[in-house]
Amino acid sequence: MSKRILVVEDQEDNRRIVRDLLTSVGYELIEAHDGEAGVRLAKEHRPDLILMDIQLPRFDGYEATRRIKADPALRDVPVIVVTSYALSGDDKKAAAAGADAYVAKPFSPRQLLAKIQQFLAPPDRPAQS
């Protein structure tokens, strides 16, 4: 069974880039468009990793991260926060909210993949031979 990654991201383009990248290497993706849906889907599907954007409708990525980390069933699921800008102090806030790691925008898909693979073993079905 392939690893499932929950992507919480309101931007269609960003979702598509992540989707194209991660499915190409064999991960299964669950997508949420806002913080509330992110928390709901995390509880529903208990993904293996969560990729959390910060600027989200309803409530933002920090709040979503806090709620997910507050759930004992989800506490051990790694959350990688995608901060908008490294110098804005978002990484500190992300750590405070309970995130396990952060990736600063602009991230290159390669960097993102490397970060994800720190937490997850390479998928069962490698896309690239």
Binding site: Q11, N14, I17, D20, S24, Y85, P106, P109
Partner: protein, 633 residues
């Protein structure tokens, strides 16, 4: 008159009195002398007169015997003749007596007349007797006439004698009277003199000198004691005391004038001060060391404490004023918690530190600035900052809006760009299928330009934040060594790509610093990546040390170097020396400008030392500890 003149006059009066007394005494002595002379003369005259009377008696006896003698004997010896000569001498003596002549001319004339008649009779008788024997009848007749004449002389002499005795008694009485007079006169004159002198002494010395001096002295004491309105003794006459009184009056008038001038000046100065205090638009109050109101302007009273005129008087304790204001609901922040508020306000008031902002009723905001005066009092200035506060709140809201706009803008600009870059990388990495080599090259150019645009957007947003004063430092403790090592690890790969040595010389025992670590990292990152970009061979060396409580960090490269005339410009916006190299090297031309602003915000400075063609060394220094924004951007 001068005191000396007065004293001389007094002595002269005394001398005159003495002279008068002596003159009087000498007159008395002369009178006494003449009286004594008169008495002596009168005595002699009376003796002579009695002798003459006795002789006249003897002669009458002789005359009675005349007839018989000449009848019985023809004796030629005449016994009358020598006696007559004697009588003539006596009568002459009486006549020559001054006493008799001066006192009794009438009686003397009677004696002379009687003696002349008797002399006539004697000569007639002598003519008879000297011619020889005469008849008895003639002799008797001669004797009768002579006797008669002698008897008349005796009467005259007796009358003179009586008169002289009376005069003598009178003279003796007079002499006795004169004798008594000098004593009485002496007593009277001496008494009068003593009384006059005593009167003079009392009137002049006491009233004129002592009393005036006493009055003068008490006036002087009063003036010296500060009572410049003390009455002065009247300046009578022209003596030294009067001069002293006049001088004192002049002194007093001068002192009064000086005092009045001083008082006027003090009053003017005070009025000026009061006017000045009154005219300032702020509420002003002065409290003394016991925290009682000394003075305040009407703005303080009417605007800050309206309706409290009864307590806004000098002497009212500060606590009373603020408590009353709180109780009247004038202070918004005291509502419902008057006691706590009063206690807090008193603490602030007694230990003033900077300014206090007070929320008053009707949504007024008052800024209170209190300062201790040298004598332990408190000066309070109350400014109505409602308008400022409103303006500031609006400005803050505007700044927040702008800040939000910048954040949104940054997000909005970067999001599509990130998508472009992301897709380009996915295509380039063959996610969407095999990519021909030519397209791969173009994709790399797209990514390069996209990253450059992203860098520009980030830098411009940073710079605009700094310009807008929106970039505030977030100070935290950091290790300069760790910071340097972090930058090194982030740039190692870049250096390795260009085969440059990256050297680090930072002592392990550098003290901990305090500042905005992220921003300082940004500065160093900029300098190191610049050094790598502009160096084609050799090394980039990062040194860190502490000098005079400041970190000094140097980034030295062996690159192209910067000409002296360009060194000052490179810290300005878009002033990279070789603009054409900017794009090639992937810089925005804003990095050093941002680095300079960040360093200056920390109260530090940034500079470069370089020789064109031989490399550059960029330095920046920072205070070890920065707890807030030092320089407004």
């Amino acid at each position: 008159m001068r005191v000396r003149t007065k004293l001389l006059a007094a002595v002269a009066v005394a001398l005159a009195l003495l002279v008068i007394q002596m003159a009087a005494v000498s007159i008395f002595i002369r009178e006494l002398q003449s009286a004594v002379t008169f008495i002596g003369a009168a005595h002699t005259a009376i003796e002579t007169d009695l002798d003459a009377l006795e002789l006249v008696g003897t002669l009458r006896g002789e005359v009675k015997q005349l007839p018989s003698r000449y009848v019985s004997s023809q004796d030629a010896a005449d016994p009358i003749a020598p006696r007559w000569q004697q009588l003539t001498a006596l009568v002459g003596g009486i006549g020559s007596s001054s006493a008799v002549r001066s006192i009794e001319p009438a009686a003397l004339d009677a004696v002379r007349d009687a003696f002349a008649r008797a002399t006539d009779e004697y000569q007639a008788t002598a003519a008879v007797t000297t011619r020889g024997p005469a008849d008895l009848d003639t002799l008797i007749e001669r004797a009768i006439f002579m006797d008669k004449a002698l008897a008349g002389l005796a009467v005259a002499l007796s009358a003179l004698n009586v008169e002289l005795r009376r005069q003598l008694r009178a003279a003796v009485e007079r002499e006795r009277a004169i004798h008594n007079r000098p004593i009485i006169a002496g007593i009277v004159i001496g008494g009068v003199t003593v009384l006059l002198l005593l009167a003079f002494a009392w009137f002049y010395i006491d009233r004129s000198l002592v009393a005036r001096l006493t009055a003068l002295s008490s006036s002087m004491r009063a003036i010296a004691g500060g009572n410049l309105r003390a009455a002065l003794p009247p300046a009578t006459g022209r003596d030294e005391i009067s001069e002293m009184a006049e001088a004192l009056a002049v002194f007093r008038d001068t002192a009064v004038e000086v005092e009045e001038n001083n008082l006027r000046e003090i009053a003017q100065a005070r009025q000026r001060l009061v006017d000045a205090i009154e005219s300032i638009s702020e509420g002003f109050a002065l409290y003394d060391v016991d925290d009682r109101l000394v003075l305040c302007n009407s703005r303080y009273c009417e605007l800050l404490y309206p309706g409290m005129a009864d307590v806004m008087v000098p002497g009212t304790p500060f606590e009373t004023i603020i408590r009353r204001a709180a109780e009247r609901g004038l202070i918004e922040s005291a509502k419902g918690r008057i006691e706590q508020w009063v206690a807090k306000r008193l603490r602030n008031h007694r230990n003033p530190r900077g300014v206090v902002v007070q929320h008053r009723s009707r949504n007024h905001w008052i800024q209170i600035s209190e300062r201790r005066t040298e004598d332990g009092g408190t000066v309070a200035v109350y400014s109505d900052i409602t308008e400022l506060k409103v303006a500031r709140d609006e400005a803050l809201r505007a700044a927040q809006a702008k800040s939000q706009f910048l954040a949104n803008m940054s997000h909005e600009l970067r999001t599509p760009l990130n998508a472009v870059l992301g897709y380009a990388e996915l295509i380039h990495d063959g996610i969407y299928g095999e990519v021909p080599e030519k397209i791969g090259d173009v994709l790399e150019r797209i990514q390069q330009n996209g990253r450059h645009l992203l860098g520009l957007i980030n830098d411009v947003l940073d710079l605009s934040k700094i310009e807008a004063g929106q970039l505030t430092l977030a100070p935290e403790d950091y290790s300069m060594r760790d910071l340097v090592l972090e930058v090194v690890s982030a740039t190692e790969s870049l250096a390795a790509e260009k085969r440059l040595r990256l050297e680090v010389d930072v002592p392990a025992d550098l003290p901990a610093g305090r500042g905005d670590e992220r921003r300082i990292t940004q500065v160093l990152m900029n300098l190191v990546s610049n050094a790598i970009k502009f160096t084609d061979a050799g090394s980039v060396r990062i040194c860190g040390r502490v000098e005079d409580d400041r970190f000094v960090v140097a980034v030295a490269d062996t690159g192209v170097g910067i000409a002296a005339e360009d060194q000052a410009q490179i810290f300005e916006e878009f002033q990279q020396v070789d603009n054409s190299s900017t794009r090639k090297k992937g810089g925005t031309g804003l990095g050093l400008a941002i680095a300079r602003r960040i360093v200056e915000l920390h109260g530090g400075r940034i500079w470069v030392e370089s020789t064109h063609g031989k490399g550059s060394t960029f330095f920046f220094e920072l205070p070890l500890s920065v707890d807030g924004q030092v320089v407004a951007a």
